[in-house]
């Protein structure tokens, strides 16, 4: 039966090749579209996590709403240790974040200063790739400062120049600290380049008289999707334990913390991603509709032809069930072959996109920025999600088999004589 189906396919080379090409091509296209969509989505989600500073953010209670410099995590080390022990935590990134005034002899500018550990930060938004002059924070300058291009222009600075930062320490005292410009960063997004200032965590803590305190811990997870679970576990473990509450004043580590996932911290970022996804779903649906019509059309078009052919088989003595099975086998063969080729096309497209990519810069000339997060990577690549690709193939296969049932049933009920007579 199988051999017969195979031979049948070969005999009807014209029809088979048409079927094959339509299924394979459109399926391949669908896969490529899926690849691009998945890539865009994961890139968006990634830049959201990067921009927020981690999948889960830990602050002193009330910090996020008020951004008050005095709201620090007083003893971050035990918290870091605790969070790092959690399964699925890749690393915990400590940060000092403060608004301050930067002075040069020729000007002053408000900046948003971040004290970071560059090696850890590199796992998230790695600004080192936007450095246009000088070094990132990796040099051995004692008081390095990396500034956005806009700040540098406002202050009329050159590499190595002195700048003085004035800010408020947690006690509310004004503090001043000297820095030397060690690097200039240009993300291309003005709202970032105009306020960005980065120094090492150590230097920031020193300058702001913070001791070991930090403003934020960013928990980076292996799988961002687990962020809610991780947040809850951390909330449980890091929060002041009930029995400690009475002694809270004596135990600085029992300070009240707030834990936020990145989408809780930046709801507009989530909205951005969701809208982007929504559009993609809509378009994917549109493409699917067109594909479905293409395939269904080709199938239906062939039904009549098949009717005659199957009638012949019936006339030759095949039982209706056998005829039906034959048709199904044929379809299965054809579909499998088409899907294989489709996978090959999709994979080829995926690899091409992965390697070359499409530069969307010509499309997105404008600054793309959400919540102070630059969406600067304009290269469109592709991402292969194996389960999705397999599912897509499965869905199509089932669809094709179902659509083959129609001619199969029809054929099995045919009166051979009538069928044979059916010409056009």
């Amino acid at each position: 039966m199988f051999a017969m189906a195979w031979r049948n396919l070969w005999r009807q080379r014209g029809r088979s090749s048409i079927m094959l090409s339509v299924i394979a091509f459109t399926f391949g296209m669908m896969l490529m579209t899926m690849g691009m969509g998945d890539f865009m989505h994961s890139q968006m989600a990634q830049s959201a996590v990067d921009g927020a500073g981690g999948s889960v953010l830990v602050h002193a209670e009330g910090y996020w709403a008020s951004q008050g410099a005095e709201l620090v995590i007083r003893e971050p080390d035990p918290l870091i240790a605790e969070a790092e022990q959690l399964e699925g935590t890749r690393l915990v990134v400590p940060r000092v974040r403060v608004y301050g005034l930067l002075n040069s002899a020729r000007g002053a500018a408000g900046v948003s200063l971040m004290g970071i550990v560059p090696e850890k930060e590199a796992a998230l938004e790695d600004y080192s790739r936007f450095v246009v002059e000088g070094d990132y924070l990796l040099g051995d300058v004692a008081d390095p400062l990396v500034l956005g291009r806009g700040v540098v222009e406002e202050l009329e600075l050159e590499l190595g120049d002195k700048v003085v930062l004035t800010a408020t320490d947690p006690q509310g005292e004004l503090v001043r600290a000297l820095f030397h410009l060690s690097g200039i960063v240009e993300t291309g997004v003005d709202s970032i380049d105009d306020v960005l200032a980065m120094t090492s965590l150590r230097k920031a803590q020193e300058a702001l008289a913070l001791g070991d305190a930090v403003h934020q811990l960013g928990v980076v997870l292996d799988d961002d999707a687990r962020r809610f679970a991780v947040r809850d576990v951390l909330r449980e473990r890091l929060g002041p334990k009930a029995e400690d509450l009475g002694e809270q004043a004596k135990r600085p580590s029992a300070q009240k913390l707030e834990l936020l996932t990145w989408d809780e911290a930046m709801p507009e970022m989530l909205g951005f991603i969701e809208i982007d996804d929504a559009f993609f779903y809509v378009f994917a649906l549109a493409i699917f509709v067109v594909v479905a019509f293409g395939v269904a059309n080709t199938f239906l078009m062939s039904v009549k032809q098949r009717v005659r052919e199957l009638g012949l088989l019936a006339a030759l003595g095949l039982r209706p069930a056998q005829v039906a099975r034959l048709v199904l086998f044929e379809t299965l063969l054809l579909a499998s072959l088409s899907l294989l080729i489709g996978y090959a096309i999709g994979l080829a497209g995926h690899l091409l996109l992965l390697h070359y990519g499409i530069d969307m810069k010509s499309f997105y000339d404008a600054d793309m920025e959400v919540s102070g997060v630059a969406l600067v990577d304009t290269m469109l690549h592709s991402q292969l999600t194996v389960s999705k690709w397999l599912n897509a193939g499965l869905v199509l296969l089932v669809g094709l088999m179902l659509s083959a049932l129609y001619p199969a049933l029809m054929a099995s009920r045919l009166d051979p004589v009538e069928a044979m007579r059916s010409f056009d």
């Binding site: 301050g100 002899a105 002053a108 002195k162 004035t166 005292e173 000297l178």
Partner: protein, 254 residues
């Protein structure tokens, strides 16, 4: 006379200069000079009246102020004219820099982000009023004699120390060689002059001889200046500590 900017600040807020000391300078003449300034400016308290003229590309304005200082940290400036702004005050205390809003009858701490704003619309920034670093800690100073317009001057070249939180690369102070009265201060970034503060109108205020007129001219702006003239200045008088609190301030501001 601490850090150069403090010099302005000191004069502005009535010679708040007890921390001055050039004692570590190796040159004996510097020592003497320092001694002199120490004598000249040292005061545990002061009270002054001042007129301030401001000229910028966008506006001209003239203010009248009253000023009190006490100790190192405490200073209070209250606007008396123009009428519209009368009562507006700036308080510097150990607790930071505060502005007083007479209409609201409230004090508000000036956040660090606002420090670069001009104080009362002048070319002195809020930051100029707040600078806390000391000359001795922040600068290496050298002296030399120079002649200018037939007058002998001493030029003090102050170079910030490596770690000092100072933005200028060099500050030059000129004082008369004869009686060591300040003439001019020049602030440099690399080799470019950024702003000049000149002192004129030497007047006897009680037992002290001091320039009554200070004029600050930014180098890169045409015809802009801030000019301050002391019309009254006295030292070592009784000033109540309570003046430098919200309540005390309200009393004099109203």
């Amino acid at each position: 006379m601490n850090q150069p900017r403090i010099l302005i600040c000191c004069l502005l807020l009535c010679l708040l200069v007890p921390a001055v000391s050039f004692a570590q300078d190796p040159l004996p003449s510097v020592d003497e000079l320092v001694q002199h300034f120490d004598q000249l400016y040292r005061s545990s308290s002061s009270y002054a009246k001042m007129r301030m003229q401001i000229s910028t590309a966008d506006y001209q304005r003239e203010l009248e102020l009253e000023l009190w200082t006490k100790g190192e940290d405490n200073a209070l400036a209250v606007l008396r004219a123009p009428a519209k702004e009368a009562g507006t005050a700036t308080l510097r205390s150990a607790d930071g820099l505060w502005n007083y809003a007479p209409k609201a009858d409230r004090l508000m701490r000036i956040p660090s982000g606002m420090l670069s704003e001009g104080w009362m619309g002048s070319h002195f920034s809020n930051d100029d009023l707040m600078s806390e670093s000391s000359w001795v800690e922040d600068y290496d100073t050298q002296l030399e004699r120079v002649e200018e317009g037939g007058e002998g001057l001493i030029r003090m070249t102050a170079t910030p120390k490596k770690d000092a939180a100072v933005v200028y690369t060099k500050v030059l102070h000129f004082v008369t060689a004869k009686d060591w009265i300040p003439v001019r201060s020049e602030y440099y970034d690399d080799d470019a002059l950024v702003r000049t503060l000149s002192y004129t109108g030497v007047t006897d205020f009680g037992d002290r001889k001091l320039p009554a007129v200070l004029e600050l001219v930014p180098a890169d702006k045409n015809n802009e200046y801030t000019r301050m003239e002391y019309t009254w200045l006295e030292f070592e008088l009784e000033v109540d500590d309570a003046l430098f609190t919200a309540r005390g301030l309200r009393k004099v501001a109203k």
